[in-house]
């Protein structure tokens, strides 16, 4: 049986195919149309998935969509009723989107894909829950999903057992942790969707002096459920989602280009601490209510690595599984998994051990490109390539690394990465300001050999998808400045030979040459979606300060072009 899962029309449009229990392909549409968080119908992503599976649309047995749009529309209209007449602008702006696209999913599937069977619509949070549990290594586990909002639910918890998922409780809009985080992100002068990670990074520069203010506007219960005091917010009333009462508590919002002050840092810190407290209470409650040993996490809030780490260490579960594409992109995969396993009654075959589910390119196509572009390149065998790349990284060169299938989700995990020496004290500023052209306070993560992770970090176990942070050991402070955040933590990805192949070999070679069992790993992009094709990698390489590019078995050196 083959199931195609889709998500689109809000953000992170994507497609995924599950065939005979295996996730064959999954990719976000943004990688193809080059628009960040692209919401469009993911026709290019679907085409890739079909191609990767070696099938046509006529071989697809079911199409699963990641939410119930009519239910979501009902909630949207109710929000307009409540906010009348102040939501007029928002109504006029968004209704055409509903009428043209969002209420016509079946039509789009029939017309764009020529798929004539009825589509199956899986509830949003159920798609999230399935995206984590059904691909996890756990036979049974508790499940917690937290995001902005689906149809009505903003958070749910339940239990997974085999192929069955029981969602027990939910919390409804507008009492949403994801929305709160986005509101404060906008208040601090960042764009929603791109700014939440920045606020999380900024939080470590401040003190949670405004925690009492957040506690005033949030009634948080012991079990993690909460209510936002809606008198402080203006949902659906335009670009600004907070109001004057909110500003009386927190001060004026930060304008675009306005410098960051301690007040902004402290608000970010307070928000982050509040978020951690909420999800931690939720996790503990779920543990107590379900008695389960393991926890699966999904939903956009699960991209908050600091909160994840607190759940891991204080949430009372033995182990966690976090869907690497925890946002709405992963919901496409979840919808497909739910229809395949839970509805279709098919057993789970194997957990998802890699998120490298996107396109890859042959050496032949890469060589044709390089020759056409008159690049001076050299082709090396695996051992020589690894040795040469490690040498360059050790020499403080910045290396663009393009290998294998692209990763599904927002993280680059060694297939579409920019790599650098974590020991170079100037590397963070160089990468942030000169190469990636982003704010200087943004930290970088590290890819570290699993067997050596506790040599440098107060961390044990596995972190394959860079969704956890760890404290750097006091005796190692100062040795890896490029991946050390202001609070002496780092976001880490642990590597194993079985899972990470040549990327593991590269870091092991770097370790042999330098004594450091890790390298700095950041996504291969520059103010655009992560590069998808060799041509895009070459373009990013040409236009940035990256010193050297490795595509498949080829090394391209800027100095020789």
């Amino acid at each position: 049986m083959t199931v195609l899962g889709l998500s689109c029309y809000y953000h992170d449009a994507s497609a995924a195919i599950i065939r005979d229990g295996i996730v064959v392909a999954a990719v976000q549409e943004e990688r193809f149309d080059r628009e960040r968080y692209s919401p469009v119908f993911p026709i290019q992503a679907v085409n890739f998935c079909l191609q990767q599976a070696g099938i046509t649309i006529y071989d697809i047995d079911e199409v699963a969509f990641y939410e119930k749009m009519y239910l979501k529309f009902e909630r949207t209209i109710l929000a307009h009723v409540i906010g009348y007449p102040f939501t007029f602008n928002n109504f006029v702006e968004t209704m055409p989107l509903w009428l043209k696209d969002r209420l016509a999913v079946s039509f789009a599937v029939r017309e764009e894909l020529s798929f004539k069977k009825p589509v199956l619509y899986v509830k949003h949070h159920l798609s999230h829950a399935a995206s984590a549990f059904l691909v996890s290594p756990f036979e049974r586990a508790a499940i917690l999903t937290v995001d902005g909002v689906g149809e009505y639910a903003c958070a749910t918890w339940g239990v997974g057992n085999g192929t069955d998922i029981q969602i027990k409780k939910e919390q409804h809009y507008p009492h949403s942790l994801g929305l709160l985080y986005s509101i404060v992100t906008a208040f601090l002068g960042f764009h929603v969707f791109t700014g939440e990670g920045k606020v999380m990074a900024l939080a470590e520069f401040g003190e949670p002096d405004h925690l009492d203010h957040f506690k005033k506007i949030i009634d948080l219960k012991d079990d993690g459920s909460f209510r936002l005091d809606t008198r402080y917010f203006s949902f659906n009333r335009g670009a600004k989602m907070h109001n004057e009462k909110f500003e009386e508590l927190f001060g004026a919002p930060r304008g675009p280009g306005e410098p960051m002050t301690d007040r902004h840092h402290n608000i970010a810190a307070s928000l982050q601490r509040m978020t951690e407290e909420i999800v931690l209470r939720m996790a503990r409650h779920v543990h107590k209510a379900t008695g389960e040993r393991y926890l699966c996490l999904a939903g956009g809030v699960s991209l908050n690595v600091t909160a994840n780490s607190r759940i891991r260490s204080e949430g009372q579960f033995e182990d966690l599984y976090i869907q690497p594409a925890a946002g709405d992109a992963g919901a496409a995969l979840g919808a497909a998994a739910y229809v395949y396993h839970t509805v279709g009654g098919n057993p789970r075959v194997q957990p998802m051990t890699t998120c490298a589910l996107g396109p890859e390119f042959s050496n032949h196509s890469v060589e044709v490109l390089l020759r056409n572009r008159r690049a001076k390149f050299q082709k090396l065998d695996r051992a020589a390539l690894v040795a040469e790349t490690a040498r360059r990284i050790a020499a403080n060169q910045v290396v663009g690394w393009f290998k294998g299938r692209s990763e599904f989700g927002p993280r680059a995990l060694g297939n579409r990465s920019i790599l650098a020496n974590p020991a170079d004290p100037t590397m963070r500023d160089r990468l942030n300001l000169a190469i990636k052209k982003r704010e200087g306070f943004r930290p970088f993560g590290a890819s570290v050999l699993l067997e050596h992770v506790s040599d440098y970090f107060e961390f044990e176990g596995d972190s394959p998808y860079m969704l956890l942070v760890a404290n750097i050991r006091p005796d190692k402070l100062g040795s890896i400045p490029a991946v050390t955040h202001v609070n002496n933590t780092s976001r880490i990805q642990t590597l194993t030979s079985e899972r990470d192949g040549v990327y593991y070999e590269l870091v092991r070679e770097f370790y042999a040459q330098t004594g450091l069992p890790m390298i700095l790993n950041t996504s291969f992009n520059r103010d655009e979606p992560i590069v998808n094709t060799p041509a895009e990698a070459l373009k990013c390489f040409d236009e940035s300060g990256i010193d050297c590019l490795v595509i498949n078995d080829y090394v391209v050196d800027k100095a020789t072009r």
Binding site: V81, V92, I165, H172, D219
Partner: protein
């Protein structure tokens, strides 16, 4: 849409005529401006229709909700003694008939 043969023949003839460059440019500009005018009309009509729907449809619904004191979406304005805000989850069953619906 299939046109009668004589008309098709005439159209083919017209299409095969090579127009002088200034005329071609004029035709292109007319096409461009027609498209822009069309989009503008569409926007105006859509805005007017949506305004009417909002004012009358949403407005009357709002009025009715106030008259019958109907609360929607569980808005909240201060702490209360509730032990929890978790609600029982509904509609998460793997029933195929339910999954075909968007409600």
């Amino acid at each position: 849409m299939e046109l009668p043969r004589p008309i098709e023949r005439v159209l083919d003839r017209v299409r095969s005529i090579e127009l002088p460059r200034p005329v071609l440019r004029l035709v292109e500009r007319i096409q461009m401006w027609s498209e822009r005018v069309g989009i503008a009309i569409q926007r105006v009509v859509l805005t007017v229709m949506l305004t009417l729907i909002y004012t009358i449809g949403v407005g009357l619904t709002r009025l009715y909700a106030r008259m019958v004191s109907r609360q929607h979406l569980g808005l909240y304005e201060g702490p209360n003694a509730a032990a929890t805000y978790w609600k029982d989850a509904e509609g998460y069953t793997p029933d195929r008939e339910q999954l075909h619906k968007q409600f």
